[in-house]
Symmetry: C2
Subunit: 406 residues, 2 copies
């Protein structure tokens, strides 16, 4: 209740947990040294958490002079979290433990009826994951849902997601919360991808990154000071509207965005048809380019040039540590090469442009990071924003690539 009673304890608890999470199995004495707390305080806090099941003793040190130390770690199965990547074509869901390790993963085609049917599909998948894991459903704490659109925080609807029918007509967060009875966090998939790349990429080194997704549409997720940049109306990273590639003053650009008209799926198909007269899919154009088709090469080079300009704009304005490029089109290495070549010719400093490390698992990983962050905040700091909560350390990259279904 009181201001005082808790805040000091919360800070101490939080730093103890941070130390244990970050420095693996560790003795209470070492935690005391790391945190600056006294040995008794650490012992008391650890004892409390051990009783509640969040921490467990896992062994003893050996080989050092002096008494052996009992080492503790976060009890991984004390809670479960679910991360779901809801796409226009596929739903990907993962069940993870408290350390972020993926226990089980599921991939299904998205329920074509959309709307409430998708809600049922997601909750069915999550329940099925929990039962395969053999855990109690009670242990499931949070689910993060990545969506290809803009979540409206007031209504819970997902706006600007043309690929999922009726998703702008329902309260996704509310419905899922009702069906699953756990905390639900809904976030844009590109934003989650940015967090995922940041979490598994260079967390600790830099707290700063831009993720550029190029596929059916173009969007960017921006991580600043470890947090997502959302903007005043949730539209930060709407780089599809950057004025490159097509005339931004044309009425058409006001609808779909000048850059999106010049560098996403539709543009590649269209531009190739205009040049060559042939109908080809996006992979088809890439294939044609690699076998020497001049028209295809020109089309892709134009895309690369416009993406390079977009990256230049991002870098000029926010100066991130690096730009990670992903999405079905963006992860093509032959495109990335060209992007880097163009970008290096129009910016005075070196820009770090990299391919996504996580591929189509980026949003899923970002969801796990978000859920873990949230869970740590609510469990160990009890909602107090202490300002020093960091993401728990990321598990290995491979962890998120176990399920290599397209």
């Amino acid at each position: 209740m009181s201001n005082y009673t808790n805040i000091s304890r919360k800070i101490s608890q939080s730093s103890v947990i941070q130390a244990i999470v970050n420095y693996g199995p560790i003795s209470r004495a070492s935690v005391a040294k790391l945190t600056g707390l006294s040995k008794q305080t650490v012992s008391e806090i650890v004892a409390n958490f051990e009783v509640k099941g969040w921490l467990r003793a896992v062994g003893q040190t050996e080989g050092h002079i002096g008494r052996r130390a009992v080492v503790y770690e976060l009890s991984p199965t004390a809670a479960l979290i679910a991360s779901v990547d809801l796409g226009g074509a596929k739903v990907r869901a993962a069940l993870c433990d408290l350390t972020g390790r993926v226990l089980f993963e599921l991939l299904e085609p998205t329920e074509p009826k959309g709307g409430q049917d998708v809600v049922h599909q997601i909750s069915r998948m999550i329940r099925s994951l929990v039962s395969s894991s053999g855990s109690s459903y009670e242990d499931l704490h949070t689910a993060v849902i990545g969506v290809p659109g803009v979540p409206d925080t007031d209504t819970g609807a997902i706006l600007l997601a043309p690929n999922i029918a009726g998703i702008d007509q329902i309260n996704l967060e509310g419905s899922l919360n009702q069906e699953l009875g756990i905390e639900i966090i809904v976030e844009n998939d590109v934003n989650l991808s940015a967090l995922g790349e940041h979490w598994l990429g260079d967390q600790g080194e830099q707290d700063n990154l831009a993720f550029l997704s190029i596929g059916t549409g173009i969007g960017a997720g921006i991580v600043l000071a470890g947090n997502l940049l959302r903007g005043i109306s949730g539209a930060a990273g709407e780089v599809g509207f950057l004025p490159f590639g097509t005339d931004p003053f044309e009425p058409e650009s006001l609808k779909s965005g000048a850059l999106e008209r010049a560098a996403a799926t539709y543009a590649i198909i269209n531009n190739y048809k205009q040049k060559s007269g042939q109908d080809k899919t996006v992979p088809g154009v890439f294939e044609a380019a690699s076998s020497g088709d001049e028209d295809a090469i020109k089309v892709l080079d134009d895309v690369a040039k416009n993406i390079a300009l977009a990256i230049l704009a991002i870098v000029s304005i926010i100066d991130p540590s690096k730009v990670v490029v992903g999405g079905s089109i963006g992860s093509r290495p032959e495109l990335l090469e060209r992007i880097i070549a163009h970008a290096s010719r129009c910016f005075p400093r070196q820009i770090k442009i990299e391919k996504t490390k996580l591929g189509n698992h980026a949003a899923l990983a970002g969801g796990v990071a978000t859920a873990l962050y949230n869970l740590h905040l609510s469990l160990f700091a009890e909602g107090q924003d202490i300002g020093t909560i960091t993401f728990p350390p990321a598990p290995s990259l491979e962890n998120f690539k176990a399920c290599e279904l397209s």
Copy 2:
């Protein structure tokens, strides 16, 4: 020393001061309600600060049921701060009290010899301001210096400031600290202007703003979540390199920036000469345009169009609550009109574009905000980043326009 001993008190102290600063003369009982602390705790903290001279009783409530309350306020003269705007042509310096009120202001031409001579000039101006105020020099706590370049945090030199000779060869912060014996904060002037506009503009409503300065060069200051966005190499807001107006792939654009080549002082003079064959200053071109000179109108319209595209890029990427335009060129109302007209034709949402409210006092006001923030942090939270420190409320706008020398 201990983690515990201080942090709780610091948080309490900080919230008490915040309440008093934000809610003007206020009784201890009200502070207790606002902060959630108990009355005794508040009394104790207020008593401590009153002894030290930071707070003072200023009267009693009257007319309400119940016992009269003694109301307290921040003692304005308990400390002084200085804000200096070091420009290529002029040095502007202001002395302010703890509430941010400007006590005295000075304006001088910048010492043309540059380097260490500028250091002497600044410290002489600050000392002279303090003696005119009749205060003791001991009361001066912090000076913030706004500079037209990038402060190098390692060496203390100011990079990319061609208008002040030798300023990249000296340690500005170190030298001033040695001459004045107080804390010195050196910051880019556009960044300070952004903070200033934010502080006096819509602080409280939105914690989010972009300031675009167009003059000899082009730069932007970006405030996100109430803080300056600096970027990984301190280059956030380097919008002069945005690829608009001239070909970004030309080698010349790598030096001075594509947009800067198309929309700053030099571009206006040059483009007008190319079109008309005549040499005119920037004010000359503006005058010609207003009296119907077609060439001048075209030149300025091109500038406006390119600025509009830059604003579009900023808005697409960071989605600020508004974009404030300033600088010697940017504050021209006839230009702003055109910028707004162009911008509204190429972005789907309404963009709030406004003229600077503070004019050439923006950087000065930003310096005051920075100094106050810093002072509050060090005095009342004793350096602990509690995460909830906000800027003290801004005084009236007019406060910063007292001295209307150009």
